[in-house]
Amino acid sequence: MNFDAIGEALPSFVEGLQVTAILLAASLSLGLVAAIPLALARRSPRAWLSKPVWLFTYVIRGTPMLVQLFLLYYGLAQFEVVRDSAAWPWLSSAWFCAIAAFAINTCAYTTEILAGALETTPAGEIEAARALGMSPALAMRRILLPSALRRAIPAYSNEAIMMLQGTSLASIVTLLDLTGAAREMNSVTYLPFEAFLTAAAFYLALTFVLVSLFHLAERRWLSHLAPRR
C-alpha cells in the first residue's frame, strides 16, 4: 500500500465525494417526488391510469440502469429534432443525463415500494377515516399517504443504498465522482489497489451514514410500529 499516493489523491476523492453526494441527493429527491403521484396512479382502479404506470416500472426495473443512461447520454443525439432544440445544451450534458437517468430509475423502484405500502394499509385506518366523514381525497392526504410513507421507510432505505452504488455509473459518462476519481488516480499512478480500495472505503462510509440516517428516520416516524419492550 502506497499511502503517500493516496494522501496526494485525497483532495480529488473529496471532490468526487461531493459529486457523488449531489448526484445521489438530486436523483433521490426528484425520484421520490415523482413517485408519489405515480404510486397513487398505480393503485388506481382505473386501468388507463394504472396500466401505463405498471408498464413504466416494469420496463425500467427490467433493464440495466447503464442502458438507460446510455440511451439518454448517447442515444438522444441520434435525432436531429433533439439536436436542434433549445434544450440541447442541457440534454447533451453528462450531469443532466446522469441525474435524469438515475432519477427515472429510482422513481420506478420507489413507485413500486410506495404502491406496495399503500396496498398494505390496515383496513381499520381507512374505515376510521371514513367514519370521521373524510372525503376520499382528504383521507388520502391525511391518513393513507402519511401512513404509507412511514411504512415504506425500511424498503426505501434499501433503495437509497442501491442508488448510492448506482451513482458510480456516472464515472462512465465522464463525471468525476468517487469512482471517477479512483479511475483517474489509477490511470495516472497505475496503483489500482490504492485507487479502488480508497473509493470502496468512501462508499462503505457513505453507506453507513445512510444506514444510520434511515435508522434515525425509523425511530422518528416508525416507532409506533416497533416491537414493545
Partner: protein, 228 residues
C-alpha cells in the same frame, strides 16, 4: 432496422447469458458457504461471513469490478514475476467479470439462503436426527429441499439484479451485448436504436426468467397449504 447487426447483438446476448450463468454458479457456491459460515458455531467463521456480506453490499459493483480487473492484473503479474516468469500476463475480462459478479452476488445470495435456512422449523432437523439420519443426510434430504422453496423469491430477485449487473462487463472490455450495441451505434450513428435494442433484449431475459422462476416456485410450493 438494425442494419445487419442483429446477428452480432444475438451473439453478444449469448456471451451475456454465459457470464450471467457462470457468475450465478460461483455466487451459489459462495452464498451457500457463507450462509453456512454465518450459521456455524465458530465465532471466527461468523465474523468472516458477516464482514464479507456487509463490505460487498456496501461497495458499488463497478468499483469492485475495476478493482478485480486492474488490481488482479497487477497481483497476477507480481506473482508471476516472483515465480521467475518474465512475460506479461493479461487477465481475461471474461474471467474477471465472472469472478467479480460471482463474488458480489455470493454476498447477496448468502443472506437469502441464510434467511431460508432460518425459516425451516427446528423440529424438521431434529426429526431427521431422531430417525437416525446423519448430519449430511439431514442437510441433503431435509434442509436443502425445503430451503429451495423458501429461498426462491429472494433468489429470483438476486438473479434479476445479477443479469442487469452483467452490463458492466462491457466497461472492462468484454465483447458482450452492451459492447456490441455500442460498436453498432458507433458504426451506424444510431445509438438510440441500438441501446433500445439492448434494453429490449434485457427486458426479454427478465421476462422469461420471471415466468420460469414463477413456474418453479409453484412447483416447489405444491405441498404447502395456502389460506383462501
Amino acid at each position: 432496422m438494425l442494419h445487419g447487426y442483429a446477428a452480432s447483438l444475438l451473439e453478444g446476448t449469448g456471451l451475456t447469458l454465459a457470464v450471467a450463468a457462470a457468475s450465478l454458479a460461483v455466487a451459489c457456491v459462495l452464498g451457500l458457504a457463507t450462509a453456512a459460515a454465518r450459521l456455524s458455531k465458530s465465532r471466527l467463521a461468523r465474523a468472516l461471513g458477516a464482514t464479507y456480506t456487509t463490505v460487498v453490499r456496501g461497495v458499488p459493483d463497478l468499483v469492485l469490478m475495476l478493482l478485480v480487473f486492474y488490481g488482479g492484473q497487477m497481483a497476477v503479474n507480481a506473482l508471476a514475476a516472483q515465480l521467475g516468469y518474465a512475460g506479461f500476463l493479461d487477465i481475461d475480462p471474461f474471467v474477471a467479470g465472472i469472478a467479480t459478479i460471482g463474488f458480489i452476488f455470493g454476498a447477496y445470495l448468502a443472506e437469502t439462503f441464510r434467511g431460508a435456512i432460518l425459516a425451516i422449523p427446528a423440529g424438521q432437523r431434529e426429526a431427521g436426527l431422531a430417525f437416525g439420519m446423519g448430519r449430511l443426510q439431514v442437510l441433503l434430504r431435509i434442509t436443502l429441499p425445503q430451503m429451495v422453496r423458501l429461498a426462491l423469491p429472494g433468489f429470483t430477485n438476486n438473479w434479476l439484479v445479477l443479469v442487469k449487473s452483467t452490463a458492466l462487463v462491457s466497461i472492462i472490455g468484454l465483447n458482450d451485448m452492451m459492447q456490441r450495441a455500442g460498436q453498432a451505434a458507433g458504426a451506424t450513428r444510431e445509438p438510440f436504436t441500438f441501446y433500445l435494442a439492448a434494453a429490449a433484449i434485457y427486458l426479454g431475459i427478465t421476462t422469461v426468467s420471471l415466468l420460469a422462476l414463477r413456474t418453479l416456485e409453484r412447483r416447489y410450493s405444491l405441498g404447502v397449504r395456502r389460506a383462501a
